[in-house]
C-alpha cells in the first residue's frame, strides 16, 4: 500500500527519523485523506480517538469521520465497500458498526491488511448537514475541509438522506454479514484483551455471543417474528439440528464472562463451525477471507 504523506525534503534528521517511523495508522490515514478528499461528494474529514489525542499505540484503530453532501451520501454509502476493497484492500466488507453512538450518520468498521497486520478502520459517514452537531458532541479534529463545505442541503434532501440512513440501519444482516461481524468483533476483543481492558472485553464477548445466536436464528428461522433471546427454544429447538445448535450456544454462554485469548478464539471458531453446518454458502463465500483472518491473527500471536 502506498502512502500519502510525501517524502520529507529538507527536514532535519530527527524529523526524517520521525517520518520514517510514524505509526502505520498515520500512513493509512494519509491514504484515506488523499482518496476521500479527491471527490466533491466529501466536504469534511475529521479524526477522533487516539490519533486525534496523540495517544495511539501499535494496536490503535483509525477513527475517521467522513462528511458527505447530503444528496450524495446514499451513493457514497453504497460504494463504500467497493472503494475500500479496491483502494485499501479491505479484508472484509464493512461491518455496520452497532457499537458507535448515533451521530446522525452510519458507522462502518473495516479490517485493512497493512505490513503483515490487520489495522482497524472505524469510518463514520455523516451528512454535511449533521457535521456541526457531531463536532459539538464529540470534538473531533478537523483533518480537511473541502470547498463549499458550508453549503447545506435543503430540507427535502436532508429528509431523504435521513430516510436512506434509517432504512440502511434497519436492513437485517444475513449469515455472511454476521460472519463478518464475528471476525470484526473478535479482532476488537483480542485487542482489548491484549490491553487488559476487561470491561470492554466483557461487552465484546457478549456481542460475539449475540452474533452466534443470530447466526443460528438467521440460518434456521429466517422469518422469525421474535428478537433477542426470546423464544429460542420454541423456534430453533423444533428440529434436531436446531437443538444441537442450542447446545452449542449454551456451552458458549457458560464460559467465563471475561475470556482469555484462547477462549475468545474458541467462540469465533464455534461460530464458523456452526455456520459451516447451517449456512454453508455463507462460509464458502468468505472462505479465503476467513483463512486470511486466521493467518493474520496467528501472525500477531507470533509477534506477541
Amino acid at each position: 500500500m502506498s502512502t500519502l504523506v510525501s517524502e520529507p525534503g529538507e527536514l532535519p534528521a530527527i524529523e526524517e527519523l520521525a517520518h520514517a517511523h510514524r505509526p502505520a495508522q498515520l500512513a493509512v490515514l494519509g491514504d484515506l485523506a488523499r482518496t476521500l478528499s479527491a471527490t466533491t461528494a466529501v466536504t469534511h474529514l475529521l479524526v477522533r480517538g487516539s490519533l486525534a489525542t496523540g495517544t495511539a499505540d501499535r494496536l490503535s484503530d483509525v477513527d475517521l469521520v467522513v462528511a458527505a453532501r447530503d444528496e450524495t451520501l446514499p451513493a457514497l454509502m453504497g460504494s463504500l465497500d467497493a472503494l475500500m476493497a479496491t483502494t485499501f484492500g479491505a479484508l472484509l466488507p464493512g461491518w455496520r458498526d452497532t457499537i458507535v453512538g448515533d451521530l446522525g450518520g452510519a458507522g462502518f468498521v473495516y479490517l485493512l491488511p497493512y505490513d503483515g497486520h490487520l489495522l482497524q478502520l472505524d469510518l463514520y459517514l455523516c451528512p454535511t448537514s449533521a457535521v456541526e452537531a457531531l463536532r459539538l458532541r464529540i470534538g473531533p479534529r478537523l483533518l480537511w475541509q473541502g470547498p463549499g463545505a458550508d453549503d447545506l442541503a435543503d430540507a427535502d434532501t436532508r429528509a431523504r438522506t435521513a430516510q436512506d440512513l434509517a432504512l440502511a440501519a434497519q436492513a437485517p444482516a444475513d449469515c455472511g454479514a454476521l460472519l463478518v461481524q464475528a471476525m470484526v468483533l473478535h479482532a476488537m476483543l483480542r485487542k482489548r484483551l491484549a490491553r487488559g481492558q476487561q470491561y470492554i472485553a466483557y461487552g465484546l464477548l457478549h456481542d460475539l455471543h449475540v452474533t452466534l445466536r443470530e447466526v443460528i436464528r438467521t440460518a434456521l428461522v429466517p422469518y422469525s417474528r421474535h428478537h433477542g433471546w426470546y423464544h429460542l427454544p420454541d423456534e430453533v429447538g423444533r428440529t434436531a439440528t436446531g437443538r444441537e445448535c442450542l447446545v452449542e450456544l449454551t456451552e458458549a454462554l457458560t464460559g467465563p464472562p471475561v475470556p482469555t485469548v484462547a477462549q475468545a478464539d474458541e467462540v469465533l471458531e464455534r461460530i464458523v463451525r456452526l455456520a459451516q453446518r447451517i449456512a454453508p454458502h455463507a462460509v464458502a463465500s468468505l472462505a479465503d477471507e476467513i483463512t486470511a483472518y486466521r493467518a493474520y491473527q496467528q501472525h500477531e500471536e507470533g509477534l506477541a
Partner: protein, 287 residues
C-alpha cells in the same frame, strides 16, 4: 531435491481441460526439507525487492533476481542470456543447491513477492524475447488460498510443495486478494532434455483448479453500475479496478476486463480513457 513422481500420481491428474493443463501444471513434488530451507532463506532475505513491470500490475509485485546477467539482485528486467548467481543467491546456499539439483539451463531466476490486495492484470509474457523454446517454473514457498493464477477461464492455486510449470506466453493474471504475502521462486529455463524429463508428467491435483463462472448479463450490468457509481463520485481508479478484477471472478473472453473498462468510459463519453484502455489491452496482451 526433487522427488520422482509416483505412478499413482497420474490418477490425480483429474478431468482437467487440456488447455488449462497446457498452461499451468504441477511437474513434480519437492522434498519438504528443501522447501523449508528455501523458505527460511527467502523470508530472511535482506531486501524486499524492487517493483518492475508497473504497467502490468496494481502495485505490490516485488521481485529480486537470484540469477541474471549482471549479478545485481535489483536488476529485475528479464532477458535472454547465460545468467550468473546474483550476490543475493550467494547468501542462500539451500536455494542455490536446489537450483543446481534441477540440472536445467536457466535464463533467469528471481524471487517474486505479491503483497495482499495485489493484482497482475491479464497479460502475456515473453513477447519481447527472441523466439526460442523456454518455460517458466514456479516454486511456491509462502502462499494462501486467495493467491491464484487465472488462465483459460480457470482459477488455479499453486500450492507449496510442488514444482509448477506455467506457460506465460498465454494470457494469464495473478492475484493475492486477502494476503498474507505470497512468495514464489520463479525460474525461466530454456527447453532442453533435462527440462523435458522434468516436465514429462504434468498434472493437477483435485482442488488445484476451479472453473470460473460465465458472466451473465445481470452480472455485467451490476458491475458496470457499481463502477459507474464510483466513477460518478470521482473514484475513477476504483471504478477501473472494480472492472479489472472481473477477470478473477468470471470466465471472460481474452481482454474482456479491459473491454468492460472501455465500455464504462464510452458510456461516460471519456474518449481519452477509452483509447487508453484499448491501447493497454493491446500492449498487455501482446497483440
Amino acid at each position: 531435491m526433487v522427488t520422482t513422481l509416483p505412478a499413482a500420481a497420474a490418477a490425480q491428474t483429474g478431468p482437467w481441460r487440456a488447455d488449462v493443463l497446457d498452461q499451468v501444471a504441477r511437474l513434480t513434488d519437492l522434498e519438504e526439507t528443501a522447501v523449508e530451507q528455501m523458505r527460511a532463506e527467502v523470508l530472511g532475505a535482506p531486501t524486499p525487492g524492487v517493483v518492475a513491470y508497473g504497467e502490468y500490475q496494481s502495485g505490490g509485485w516485488w521481485t529480486t533476481a537470484l540469477m541474471n546477467m549482471s549479478g545485481d539482485p535489483h536488476d529485475v528486467v528479464i532477458g535472454d542470456g547465460r545468467p550468473r548467481p546474483t550476490s543475493l543467491l550467494k547468501q542462500m546456499p539451500a536455494t542455490a543447491a536446489f537450483l543446481d539439483s534441477l540440472g536445467l539451463t536457466f535464463m533467469y531466476v528471481r524471487l517474486a513477492r505479491l503483497e495482499p490486495h495485489s493484482y497482475l492484470w491479464e497479460h502475456r509474457d515473453y513477447a519481447e524475447l527472441r523466439d526460442t523454446g523456454r518455460h517458466r517454473l514456479h516454486v511456491p514457498l509462502v502462499t494462501n488460498p486467495s493467491a491464484v493464477l487465472v488462465t483459460a477461464g480457470a482459477r488455479v492455486h499453486m500450492a507449496a510443495g510442488s514444482l509448477w510449470r506455467l506457460t506465460p506466453s498465454q494470457a494469464h493474471g495473478v492475484c493475492n486478494t486477502t494476503g498474507p504475502d505470497r512468495l514464489h521462486l520463479i525460474a525461466d529455463v530454456y527447453a532442453d532434455d533435462a527440462y523435458e524429463a522434468l516436465a514429462a508428467r504434468p498434472h493437477l491435483h483435485d482442488g488445484d483448479a476451479a472453473d470460473l463462472p460465465e458472466m451473465t448479463a445481470a452480472d455485467r450490468a451490476g458491475l458496470l453500475a457499481t463502477a459507474g457509481q464510483l466513477a460518478d463520485l470521482g473514484f475513477t481508479d476504483a471504478a477501473e479496478q472494480t472492472l479489472l478484477r472481473a477477470f478473477y471472478t468470471y470466465a471472460l473472453p481474452e481482454g474482456g476486463a479491459y473491454d468492460l473498462i472501455a465500455d464504462l468510459h464510452t458510456a461516460r463519453r471519456a474518449d481519452t480513457d477509452v483509447s487508453r484502455w484499448r491501447e493497454a489491452k493491446a500492449h498487455l496482451l501482446a497483440r
